[in-house]
Structures are given as C-alpha cells and as structure tokens.
Amino acid sequence: MAEQKKSVGSVWVIAEQIDCRLLSVSTQLLGKARKLADELHTSLETILLGDNIDRQTQQLIAAGAERVYLGNTPEFAFYHPEIYTETIVSLAREHKPEIILMGSTSAGRELAPLVAARLETGLTAHCIDLVLDEDRNLEQRIPAYGGLLSIICPERRPQMATIAKGVFSAPEPDETRTGEIIALGAPDIASQRIQTLEIIREEPEGVPLESADIVVAGGAGAGDREGWSKISELANTLNAALGSTRPAVDEGWTELTTMIGQSGKMVSPQLYIGVGLSGEQQHLVGVVDAKVMVAINNDDKSPVFEQVDFGIVEDCREFVPVLIEKIKAYQERLTVC
C-alpha cells in the first residue's frame, strides 16, 4: 500500500447478440464483471452492437451494467470484423477501460485479437477463472499441461480476456437496477475490404453436448477412423452426446463442434466416459462438473486416471466393442422384462 491508489478505469463486457437474442455468455460475463468492478471500486459498462435490439439493454442492466453503449443500426446487424473492431477500439481509446471481457464465441475469437492488437495490449484466450491479485492485476487462469497457469498483463491497459459459455453462471436478474444508455453511430469505414455476402445457419445433429446427461468423449487413442466409429457407436448405444479432444478433431475424425474443454464446450453431464484420451487439462476443465467420471486408457500411468472416479486400463479399440455388447445385452434384458 506504499503507492497511492490510482483511480481505475471501468470494467467492460463486450456483449453479443445473434438474430436480436442476447447470448447467455454475455450475461454470465456481466455477473463476473460486476464482482470485479465492485472489488476495484469502479463501474461496469457494456457494449452491445446489433439492429433492433433496444429491448436487450434492460437485460444487460438487470445483469449489472451501469452503462450500455448501444449501437443499434443496420450496419451493426451482423458481426463485421472491421466495423465492430473500429467501434470498440475508438470507444476504448476514449474511455480507457481497465478490463475488457468477451465471450469465446466465433465472433469474439476473431474480434478480441483484432481489438487487442490495435490497442497494443495483452489478451488471454479462453480463461476458466478470473481473480484480482494483490497488485489489483487481473489474474487470468488458463489450464495448461498438468496445472493452471495464471497470466497477467501488468504494464498495459486494458487487460483483455475471452471466456467460454458456461464458465461463469449468470446472475439473478435484478429488474430494479437502472443504467445509462449511450447511442453509438456506425464508424465511417471508407474501404469495404471485407463483405459478408450471406450468413447460413446450420443446426448440429445428435444430442447437444451442453444439455446431455451422458457424454462419451474420444481422443487420439482411437487410433484411426475405425476406432473412432466404435467410440461414436458407444455414444449412440448409451444415447449419449459425442465429445472429443483437439487431437481427434485435428485428425479429422469429428467436427470441431464436438470439442470439449477450454477452447471448446463446457459440459456438466451426470456421467462422463473418456475413451482413449490422456486427460489434458485443456480438455478436462470442460467436464469438471460431471457427476461420475470414467476413463478408459491403455496406459495405467496416464494422468487421466488422477481425475476420474472409475478407471479401466485397456486398449479402447479392443475394449469398446466388448462394452457395447454388454450394454446392449443389458438393454435387451430390460425390454424383455
């Protein structure tokens, strides 16, 4: 406490809407940001860009925002890298926030690095916790090989981080809160170097990961496409959602949308079965809230066994077909009785 307490800039959340619906990650971030702002004795402000989104501002205020910068014009209707970046960068240069948080959504993951580079500041990817350290720096925690790393950005401001949906829980909306709304105009960008010609929505098939009771997740241990198809079959047999690790996605066995973990989805099933995966933190942080966890891996020293309730030391390519047969046999017994 030798230093005099400097006045601290605001905490900002870049809120996001799709088709005029506020994303849940935005209110979740506001809940966390509200606590950080209180601890820093500063205000909580948010930016929302879209078109026809007046009604969403009340949700932002009820979640804790004291001020909403609202860009509510056709130019903002869909995420556009240059228009959105320019808007946020010029506001941040004017108001000098202490912290900027964004969701790890597809737009957030492109926008955050563009804004951070323009503001010449640091950006931490896909944090799983945020706390203030003794110097009142934002400690941004990310999973890394066998542990949690704390990243700080001590010299530059704002401190920026992206956070996935489901890491923080949304606050109970407080409709008595009031806030100030400041209208933003679209920036004048002369060169249209990037044009969005079309946006196509596709709903993923199968049981959605986030709401599944059972999740079967596969990793590199599947070995090949055939091994992967067995894991997929196990998921089907259990009426479970199929999840994956990054190596499985990189091999092309499954879609990126199935990836669980720090840069993928956060899931909280009743039962999680990890098959042929080694228990990397980047993956397992996405399932810490699972009730019962099972791992199947051929290496009895695999770190995955330190983090589950039941372990089976077997080559998953040999074991999964046997397991499927046993489950089917049980299911048939049920239907007979």
Partner: protein, 265 residues
Amino acid sequence: MLNIVVCVKGVPDPKQACNIKIDPDTKTLLRCDVPMVVNPLDKNAMEVALQLKAKTDARITVLSMGPPEAGNIVKECLALGGDQGILLSDPAFGGADTFATAYTLAKGIQKIGPYDVILCGMASSDGSTEWVGPQIATFLKIPVVTMVKEVVETDPSTWKVKANIDNGYRLMQVKLPALFTVTREVNTPKNLSFSGIIKARKKEIEQWGIDDLGVSQGSVGLKGSPTIVSQLNTKVSNRNVEFIKGTREEKAESLVQKLIGTGLL
C-alpha cells in the same frame, strides 16, 4: 504471380502432449522426449497454398519463428512443396506471447516482400489461442477472415471464402492482400512424398534474427510481450480413482454394473 506466405508453428506432437509437464520452479515446459511436429492446422494452410500453386502461377514462402531446431518444421513444409523457407530465430525472440509473436512474424512478412495471401492454421494445438493470425493482419493493416472452411473463389484481386461461425457459416468476399486462418475442414493435407523430400534438399532456409528485421529488443520476445505467466497452480483433483480389474469381459461387465448404479442406463 500470386505471392503466398504460409505461417507454420512447431508444436509438441499433440498425440504425446500428455507427457509434457510444467516445471513448477521455472514455469517452463518440460518437453521430455516429445517430438516437435508441424501444427496440424498449419498443414491445412499449407495444402490451400499447394492446391493454388497447382492451378496458377504462385510462389509459396514458408515462414516460422522458433529456435534453430524449428528449421526442421520449415524443411518439412518445403518438402511438401513450398518454394522458399524463412525461420525467424534469435534468442531475443524467446518467451514471446501471441502479441509479440504476431509482431515479429509481421516484420518477417514485410521483409519477404510483396504478398497477396497469408495463410495460417486457425489455432495452435499447444497454446490453443487463435490470436496470431488476426494480429499479424492488424500489424500489416490488411483484412482477415478466421476459421475458413472452404475457399470458394480465388480471383487475382478478390477471394470468396466460407468461414465457420457458431451454428453455421458466413460467406465472405475479401479484397487481397488478406490473411486467412483455416480449419481442418478446408482440405485433407497430403503426406510427404519421397520426391518432395529429395527436392527440398536443394531448397534453402534463410534464418533471420533481430538485426535482419530491424526491430528493437523491447518490441520482441519476452520484453515485447504485454502478458506474462505470473503463477502456476498445480491442479488437484478431488476424485479418487477406483480401477476396475479382471479380464476384458469382466471389466466391461463390472463397468455396466457401475453405470446401472448411476441410474442412467
């Protein structure tokens, strides 16, 4: 001629990444014997460039930053069909976060000369950040589209691409020069060929250090990085594993019984 720069990163083999630990004292990675490989998605970026070169007059420059050993990563991409390889390597570049890495790579690209297209993998398998591509584009003041899953049209001055978004994709038209980061859906990378390896022997890899790029010590590496690692907490799991024993059949049967116990079957 179309000038393409492909940025590649050497990463610990993702299939063996569980063997990597963090030294609690030095907070550095203990890579053990895990070999370095080309970041998987960077191979997709390389393949985009190779497919273009097959149908148009193009020159592919492979660019990487890393210790001198990362020359092997560049060499592998030359064996895949790259024309020229550049490795940015200097003790001063060490310890860079994504901001300082993107700055250094952008300076490297400016030194290479005129460029039309810069290609990167969407994310690295080790850091799992996706920042370097968009931040290179920022330093070069060129447009960027991330998560490209299909290159639809490649006119000399404009590209049309499909890029993933949550629950769908967007069709984008982008003026060159531009940077694109690609997902694995964009193509299937080819494996190394024997003739490619032979041809790559004759191709030179240039190594550029801090003086070659004309940048200050304070703008690269650890000194040029806004973020630092402040702490390592070893994560302690509160679960105690019970190993299910027996023959394969017995293990499967016991597991089914345990699952029945959860009430979910």
